[in-house]
Amino acid sequence: MAKGNTKSGTLKRALCYIGKYKLLLPVTALFAILTVALTLYIPVLVGDALDLIIGEGLVDLGGVLKILSLAAILIGLTALFQWIMSTINNRITFHVVRDIRNDAFRKLESLPLSYVDSHPSGEVVNRIINDAEQLADGLLLGFTQLLTGVLTIVGTLGIMLYLNWIVALVVFILTPMSLFIAKFIASRTYNMFRMRAESEAAATSYIGEIIGNQKIVKAFCRENEAQEEFDALNDRLGAHSLRAIFFSSLTNPVTRFVNSVVYAAVALFGAIMAVSNPLKEGGIVALISVGELAALLSYANQYTKPFNEISGVVTEFQNALACAARILELIDEEPEIPDAPDAVELSVREGNVSLRDVSFSYTPDRPLIEGLSVDALSGQRVAIVGPTGCGKTTLINLLMRFYDVTGGSILVDGEDIRGVTRRSLRQGYGMVLQETWLSPASIKENIRLGRPEATDEEVISAAKAAHAHSFIKRLKDGYDTLVGEGGEELSAGQRQLICIARVMLSLPPMLILDEATSSIDTRTEIKIQRAFAKMMEGRTTFVVAHRLSTIMDADLILVMRDGNIVEMGRHGELLERGGFYSSLYNSQFAH
């Protein structure tokens, strides 16, 4: 398994994604160099021009014009290069992130369901959306500012040294001061920000808890107590915020002050040296001109900027790397065991399902199902009963091969399901689950999910069979009504009817049904029951049963408790046995 946990590993993997655009990299680097070089050269030109403007009658107007025209051309070029560079950087960044997202999503579709089940969906979504986004921001900043920032610092130093090494030295010694101060403030305020984050989290979670359950607060008349408690949290948040905001906002004024000290120092040294002008104190070599002083001053002003930017970029970049690590971790996740190379297409003839000595557990240290053998013959109905949370869905997971058995085997018509393709196995089952998931699309498309080629007539007759037609046709757009996120709000019962219609349309030889109807009104419940009954005719069916009628008619009842199958048999037999099933059954009538 590829482990991208180390920083350099992550960087390398991220670079692989950039590698696809490697032809663009030298181009953007070239433009970065050109842009920086030109940007730095312009103040020198301006300084040269200023030197030609000495005083009344002493101005070399032709010379000024010549310099200025050159500057104009170079300025135009700089702007052009800058734009090209940004455009290329945008392209690389957005494409890299697109590629990463696509890979992550593709991995999502091939991950074992155990991954999906054991990771909160918000966390995975966060990786694919927010982490990718922050990676993009970090990359973009890295590209545009890291290289140019470093080049600018080096270039500025070089030019200042060239213009006047003493002034350059002054700037070189003084500027790190502003960085130290910024760092000092940041380290001092870190604690304040942490405290603010804590009190903010406390206030936010209190808000979420109370406002989210406002009705209960009102039912118990706890409004005043809640307000008191909130005000206390709110005051604490206010005090912490004030300190954090104020002290962190010192960074700017203080660094500005340091900069003005640097500026004054440059002005002082520069001007003193400019006074030693050979024209006035014959014999001494010209140390500096006014134009050069102007250039130095403008460099002194700009010199600290890239420093601050780079330290910002570095933090941003570290964050981006952390994000990249999270999303790459998802991409590197072990996929579902692929179908065996010699896997055959299962074609279900009878629909005999047999579990042979099946063992299974989600975690190795907690065995769940052990040595389970069940035979469901063609057309039989197997009911799975037990209290909530007893692991009824585990069995469904195994039948559909969402999870693989850890021991024994499951056979369909004598064929081990690990020897057939998942697609063909799943095609053999029709499934109506408690979670009535609908894809964000029209009702028609949702019903067609299992058989995309079905005609409209077939869709309608399936809906009729599922008792869904009457409510669908009353919707504003009928079968074209959009459902799922952002679409028409359907009740849980209506959603379930659509799911049943979906199965009705493809009518596979085996069925898996979850009867859970706690959120469905009585009328719909009866309709659903009828639809279920119709579907089950002649099909091998596994039902997670909640109704006694289903249970009593079942050919086989599997009684589950705490993940294990504790009893197995027909209704009458199980009652006689007087075990868990009979106590479960009898408790319904307790007074």
Binding site: I42, V46, L50, L52, I53, G55, V59, L65, W83, S86, N90, R91, N102, F105, E109, L113, I128, I129, I207, G208, I211, Q214, K215, V217, F220, E223, Q227, F230, D231, N234, L237, I245, S249, P253, F257, S260, V261, Y263, A264, I272, V275, L297, N301, R426, Y429, M431, L433, S439, A492, R502, S519, D521, T522, R523, I526, L548, L584, S587, Q588, A590
Partner: protein
């Protein structure tokens, strides 16, 4: 923002002094180029070294004074904005406490939470920036221009021309890209929801073998997003080059006209340098201003959403009575109809019902049949559109809501507990309940094993009761409702997560509790209500049966249907 202005009261001094000090600092900054000009003209030109030294010390001194000004300004604006937002948050919280159930339904708790968190902090940030920077940037821009005019009118015209042009570029790009950023957000939301759908619907998608179709759909949406991002990027990338060209061309023009003026003797070299420095100051401030305006417009939008919430009139009943009129009939409803705001059909229509002290009333029906609506009328959580609801002889809206609700113990459908000890949670029912009273309620609610397993009354419950199972939570919420020993007890589908045996034991225990109370049991299970003194059967908001189990079984088809689906066929042996 103006609607929130009253929360700024008490911070007037800070909100005026903050910007004022900031402007003082900015004025100092505007003087710097003049000093440099003086250094060049008098210091260098006149070879006056002591003068240069004095001027440079002045620069440092001004930097120091500027630092003091600016720190003061930062403090005042931080204090004003934090204080303001703290008050707004407290006012919001208090507003929400005063809202009625219908108000909460209409607003949605998610919205309210966003107002108090994200919106409030955006306003805080916006106000802080406004106080610090909103005046400063225009001041520096126009100040620079005015200073330029004092140096040389002809050169200053360049400023007058370039400032509008720069503003056009900066704000133009901002205006063009703002809607584009929104469409980036929309596209991002699109791939976000596809991702979430694929996680939540993982089983269905795989069962119907839709993996490849989903991958295709995602990559199409992802492509669209990339395209939009690139388009925004291309336009945003124009900002730096365009402003760069404008400012630098303006500088070239300045130097060119300056050269002529100097040659004529109207200007000095130092003054040209000063003009050049002023021009450089403008750009930085304009870009700051553009960013500031984005934050401020976001803050304003948040502020107006907050103000909307604060202006809501609560529809909570305003009764003041604390005296029941009679103790003979606990509850009487006659011809009651309820319609929720915005609903076409009434949720409840023409319901009449009476309950005597000591009676147990069962209420049964499918989802959406109006069971919860009915019992929510008793504590006056919702008003009846028509008809009368009387508790102990008095119309519920006449009661002081707190008094009325104090008589009623309610166990809502959603079993919610709050962070804190078990004792804290149970005392919601009665602040002064002793441990014995608590244990009595716990025992009745069949929750003794839960409390013991957790380690007693001091055991901590996490937010939302995460560290408890559904059934454990449910039993503790029942105990909470029992703690006040209420005269009316409402169990709204409160035993749905309990197994049949516990459910039965619970009902038995409640019947045996000391004191006389009226109990309402709402359920979808026939087994939970079949032994009640009276059973009300609801279907689609209407009463379709009212009586005892045996008679309902005979003459109420809906009740019979419910009973039979749960107890198996017509031959059910219950």
């Amino acid at each position: 923002m103006t609607r929130l202005i009253r929360y700024l009261r008490g911070y007037i001094k800070e909100s005026v002094l903050g910007p004022l000090f900031k402007l003082c600092e900015a004025s100092l900054e505007l003087i710097v180029p003049l000093i440099i000009a003086a250094i060049v003209d008098r210091g260098i030109g006149g070879a006056d070294r002591p003068y240069i030294l004095r001027m440079c010390l002045l620069l440092v001194l001004m930097g120091g004074v500027g630092l003091a000004f600016s720190v003061t300004a930062q403090y005042f604006s931080a204090k004003a904005s934090v204080g303001f937002v703290s008050r707004v948050r407290s006012a919001l919280f208090s507003k929400v406490q005063s809202l009625s159930y219908s108000d909460i339904d209409r607003l949605g708790t998610g919205t309210v939470i966003t107002r108090m968190t994200a919106d409030a902090s955006r306003v805080q940030n916006g106000l802080n920036l406004t106080l610090r920077l909103l005046l400063r940037s225009p001041f520096v821009v126009f100040g620079a221009m005015i200073m330029a005019f004092t140096i040389d009118v002809k050169s200053a015209l360049t400023f007058a021309a370039v400032i509008p042009l720069l503003s056009l570029v900066v704000f133009g790009i901002m205006l063009i890209t703002m809607p584009m950023h929104k469409s980036v957000q929309r596209s991002t939301d699109g791939i976000l929801s596809t991702t979430r759908e694929n996680l939540e619907g993982a089983r269905v998608i795989r069962a119907f073998r839709r993996e490849n179709a989903e991958i295709l759909e995602f990559s199409e949406k992802n492509d669209t997003l990339t395209q939009v991002q690139k388009r925004v990027g291309r336009i945003s990338a124009l900002l730096n080059p365009l402003t760069y060209v404008l400012i630098n061309f303006a500088i070239l023009i300045l130097i060119d006209t300056g050269a002529v003026q100097v040659n004529l003797g109207n200007l000095s070299q130092g003054q040209v340098l000063a003009l050049y420095n002023y021009m450089s100051q403008i750009l930085v401030e304009l870009i700051k201003l553009a960013n500031l305006i984005i934050s401020i417009s976001k803050a304003l939008a948040s502020a107006s959403r907050i103000a909307d919430l604060l202006e809501i009139e609560s529809t909570e009943p305003s009764g003041t009575s604390c005296e029941p009129l009679s103790s003979e009939v606990a509850l009487e409803m006659s011809g009651v109809s309820v319609r929720y705001a915005g609903a076409r059909e009434p949720a409840l229509e023409g319901v009449s019902l009476s309950a005597l002290p000591g009676e147990t009333i069962g209420i049964i029906g499918g989802t959406g049949s109006g069971k919860s609506t009915l019992i929510n009328l008793i504590p006056a959580f919702y008003p009846a559109e028509r008809g009368e609801v009387r508790v102990f002889g008095r119309e519920v809206s006449e009661y002081n809501p707190a008094y009325l609700r104090g008589m009623i113990g309610i166990c809502p459908q959603r079993a919610v507990l709050f962070r804190g000890s078990i004792r804290d949670n149970l005392r919601w029912g009665n602040e002064s309940a002793s441990d014995e009273e608590l244990y009595e309620a716990i025992t009745t609610a069949q929750a003794l094993d839960v409390v013991n397993a957790k380690g007693g009354l001091d055991a901590m419950i996490e937010e939302g009761g995460r560290n408890l199972s559904g059934g454990q939570r449910q039993r503790l919420t029942i105990a909470r409702a029992l703690v006040g020993n209420p005269r009316i007890l409402i169990l709204d589908d409160a035993a749905s997560a309990l197994d049949f045996a516990t459910d039965a034991a619970l009902r038995r225990a409640i019947r045996d509790m000391r004191g006389e109370r009226t109990v309402f049991i709402v359920s979808q299970r026939a087994s939970s209500v079949m032994h009640a003194d009276k059973i009300l059967v609801l279907d689609d908001g209407a009463v379709v049966g009212y009586g005892q189990h045996d008679s309902l079984l005979l003459d109420c088809p809906v009740y019979r249907e419910i009973y039979e689906t749960q107890f198996g066929g017509g031959d059910g042996n219950g």
